[in-house]
Symmetry: C2
Subunit: 413 residues, 2 copies
């Protein structure tokens, strides 16, 4: 099948999905979860072939780790599907129903988006996560993974689709694109009328390419140049713990902090209390001029540092003269993902919450909490850093749209 | 100022808009409404120059009518702004606040989108409508109108901006782009990071061009290839009135019907009752083969007719063998705007509401009701035919986004 044919099949089956009840969707998800375990050996075999090819290609250890599947990782995928089963039905309810003076009853009904396209990179568990969330929300899904994981992804998609079709999902609602060429990605981005939304999951280059080239609606995800700002009135221990957690706990994740901003008064008194533990943990510190006068041994930060999501144990440090300077820096340099202030001042907290332009703005907490599970959504398909449709962690709700349903008895205008 | 400088100014002032209270926004809107009346002569003078140039250019009467301003049309714009003042504040509330087990309080706060770009064509009242709605929702606005109305639009934007800045809006939040070249439109479509959403208002060509070329998020609006489907059990008089209203009352508007689908049993018994009044009203009928056998004198419809939004007194007519065929036709040929079924059958009504993929789906009512005022939103900035962010008539709520506001006391992960 060509990509176009696959998309047409997904579209046709998305209309059939509208008639698939919650018990059938949940039953299919349960069968999928079981099938992952039943066919774990087959999936692992295919993953081994991917791993072999990646090693021959000389991929880095970090890349190999992202690609690797183990029995326990497959069990994790199966458990993830069960969690999705437990979530309430995101579709069918009417959020708002109004009776108009002319007698028309207008309801705003939650409905599936239709066909969701996902372009992603190495990690094969995305295949399973994305399929389960899209199906639960009543959508058809068109997946295009990276070439490194092609055998693993194909196997997972095949196992899940077969289990789903056997238990009542309409044939064709799960489409995995075999072709991992640039051309297939480019074509997917332009399937207006067939793909209702395209969600890229991966690195900066992939996301930029989708935003630049797509003609179908896109939800931009995951770029996280996040900041922690320590205001003068912050408690020293709290500030130290939050900065350390935001930078060190999982530096490769998008909600990790990349730049630390410190208000001048606090920096003069306490900069060492904040930076010493980071330096001891092996974090490379790159400071502005002012901060380097207060704390020795940092490399100088360049303009580029303020704009970089390191994904590594590197932290840019800047001393600012007041909260306005911190807010301006964040709004100018950030990616509008997750931003945190540490403060004891009510006024500073409220000002920061109001003025910082980001999906999630924190007072006295680590930026690392921006995550669907942590927000109580049960699962997430990504973290939106745009303002349209979805912002922050996207759960099942964000995989739906609305339709106005209008009941009359002969009204004309 | 270059377009880029204008966009940067809009962005900077959008951050200042976050601190502008509702009383100040409403006060500014009142001053704007007054200013339109106070400077009506100046605006009319500029409009006269546009009208003169358009006549010299040989524009059609319909185009001239769209361009024309009169004292009473300016009064209508001023009244429109007063209606916006009366609407509740769309920003600041938190739709959802949850206390997590770890003590974090997560709130989902309604906030302005930031900078809204609007590309539009002839009608100068869009300038006033768009500015008032965007300002009410706390946004900065970057407007690019068509060249025909350049003098009228410039005058309106100037009068409104001056009145707004005098009464507390941050300087720069209303930007009108003087350059009406293709290049300026192309540049506006690519201002990623400066324009948070771009809304095209105009004809098919404009909208397609924006969808094809924009890298900033777009809300597709206004294309309306709408259908009325008469099911076998429909009441004849109701069906006749609804079809007549949907086609004839305002054929140039996007919610007018373009194709009539009739179930075969009904067509055999009643097609003349439905089509005679249309023919008498001067509607050109283009029928499928089956319908032409049942009702003589129609031109044959071509495949292209099913896909065309005529914007005129032309109606395509097709006889279908059952409701499934009607639904399939609508989902294939429609623009997902407004679709109506006329029926006495509960099952048929529910099936149509469920299976038709459109912003607004009607039972026993004219498609003409898809409109912000009719839906009780008080005003609208356009009608979205996409599924992301907004669907159907877009009011103030659709000019906002959310931000997660997270309050902690030292939480780390």
């Amino acid at each position: 099948m060509t990509l176009l044919q696959q998309a047409e099949k997904a579209k046709a089956s998305s209309y059939k999905m509208l008639n698939v009840s919650l018990p059938v969707r949940n039953g299919a998800l349960l069968a999928m979860s079981d099938a992952l375990l039943m066919y774990a050996d087959y999936i692992l075999e295919q993953n081994e072939a991917d791993m072999h090819a990646a090693k021959v290609d000389g991929k880095t250890d970090a890349m190999l780790d992202r690609l690797l599947l183990t029995k326990s990782r497959i069990e994790g995928m199966a458990t993830g599907i069960k969690k999705v089963i437990a979530l309430p039905d995101p579709i069918g309810s009417e959020d708002w129903v109004e009776k108009m003076p002319n007698g028309l009853a207008i309801g705003k009904r939650r409905v599936p988006l239709g066909v969701i396209g996902i372009i992603y990179e190495a990690r094969p568990n995305v295949t399973s996560d994305a399929i389960s969330l899209c199906v639960k929300a009543g959508n058809a899904v068109l997946l295009r993974g990276g070439s490194d994981a092609i055998r693993s992804n194909t196997a997972i998609a095949e196992v899940l689709a077969r289990a789903g079709y056997k238990t009542g999902l309409p044939e064709g609602c799960i489409q995995f694109i075999q072709d991992t060429s640039r051309e297939s990605a480019a074509q997917l981005m332009k399937l207006s009328g067939l793909v209702d939304v395209l969600i890229p999951r991966g690195g900066e280059q992939l996301i930029r390419s989708v935003v630049q080239n797509a003609t179908v609606p896109v939800i931009e995800t995951g770029l996280g140049n996040c900041h922690v700002f320590i205001e003068n009135s912050a408690e020293v221990n709290m500030a130290r713990d939050i900065v350390f957690n935001a930078k060190v706990s999982r530096p490769a994740i998008c909600n990790a902090a990349e730049t630390l901003l410190i208000e001048e008064g606090f920096a003069k008194a306490h900069i060492a209390s904040i930076l010493d533990p980071l330096a001891q943990a092996g974090v490379e510190l790159r400071g502005c001029e002012k901060s380097r006068r207060l704390y020795h041994g940092m490399k100088p930060a360049q303009e580029q540092d303020w704009l970089t999501e390191y994904h590594e144990l590197i932290l840019a440090v800047r001393v600012v003269s007041d909260i306005e300077e911190a807010i301006t820096h964040i709004n100018r340099c950030g990616t509008h993902h997750s931003e945190s202030i540490v403060t004891s001042s009510y006024a500073a907290a409220e000002q920061f919450l109001n003025a910082v332009d980001a999906a999630a703005v924190y007072v006295n907490a680590s930026t690392r909490f921006t995550d669907g599970e942590e927000f109580g959504f049960g699962a997430e398909i990504g973290i939106s850093t745009q303002k349209l449709h979805a912002r922050g962690p996207m759960g099942l709700h964000e995989l739906t749209t609305v339709k106005y349903v209008v009941r009359g008895n002969g009204q004309i205008r």
